[in-house]
């Protein structure tokens, strides 16, 4: 494990834990930004430069700005926990441990076959992605533009103040 890789791994883990531990939503949002930047670094180390750039621009930039903007717009304060929500933590933790155990067991069983495959990794990533996106996946790609149009219209209609 090289030093930058370890740093990004630790940053992602710490950010995710901090998202849970922080009481104020704005602190949680900043923790999530740390996770996203760390993941962008991991994508770079994995040789996915384009995805790393999109991760920082779209996730770290656009989406998180939207979150921070809404938090400030609604003046969100410290979250309050009732006794029921504290009780929800115990079965939640149990569920997460079970889920993690299941995933770990599955990985431990199947990791050999993945590692055995030859790692080419020599494809020019961005050129290859654009080739696939505009040849093999051109219909899904066009559909996403429609999806974004519908989402923008929906968000506008939802957040609109009623006229009456």
């Amino acid at each position: 494990m090289t030093p930058p890789l370890a740093v990004f791994f630790v940053l992602a883990g710490i950010g995710a834990v901090s998202l849970i531990l922080q009481k104020h939503p704005i602190h949680s949002a900043l923790s999530l930004i740390v996770v996203m930047i760390a993941l962008a670094g991991l994508y770079l180390l994995l040789g996915a430069e384009f995805v790393a750039a999109v991760q920082i621009i779209v996730y770290g930039g656009a989406i998180m700005v939207l979150f921070v903007f809404v938090i400030m717009l609604l003046n969100a304060g410290v979250e309050e926990h009732t006794s029921i929500s504290k009780m929800a933590g115990a079965p939640g933790l149990l569920l997460v441990v079970a889920l993690a155990g299941f995933v770990a067991a599955t990985i431990a069983k199947s990791t050999e076959s993945v590692q055995a495959t030859p790692q080419t990794g020599q494809i020019a990533s961005t050129i290859g992605i654009s080739n696939m996106l505009f040849k093999d996946f051109v219909y899904p790609f066009e559909l996403t533009s429609f999806l974004i149009l519908v989402a923008v219209l929906g968000a506008t209609v939802l957040a609109q103040r009623e006229k009456s």
């Binding site: 791994f9 994508y43 994995l46 991760q55 939207l66 979250e79 309050e80 495959t117 899904p140």
Partner: protein
């Protein structure tokens, strides 16, 4: 070369933390952020497998996931603004209009 399983383990951990935050958190915005965390965890698995198998399909899928996440964030935050305006609260336990 780092084994792919490292990345998959990190992805599983992030996803698990996202699920836990989704259950444990009470602020509707933080719950929404934990969904984004889960999407990010899945993206990491996609990219790791894409690199391990030497195919770019995974990275193209990540782009689609990011587009859907952006659309989802726009609509979701619109709904959150609507809830905050109608119920004057961001606590999901106070949003109980459907409860008997």
């Amino acid at each position: 070369m780092v084994p792919t399983s490292y990345y998959i383990f990190l992805s599983a951990i992030l996803f698990g933390l996202g699920v836990f935050a989704f259950i444990f958190k009470r602020n509707i915005i933080t719950i929404f952020m934990s969904i984004e965390l889960m999407l990010n965890a899945v993206n990491l698995a996609f990219v790791a497998f894409s690199q391990a198998l030497g195919k770019l399909d995974g990275q193209v899928f990540v782009l689609f996931v990011i587009v859907v996440a952006a659309a989802e964030a726009a609509v979701g935050l619109g709904i959150i603004i609507l809830i905050a305006r109608n119920r004057q609260t961001l606590n999901v336990e106070r949003v109980d209009l459907l409860k008997l």
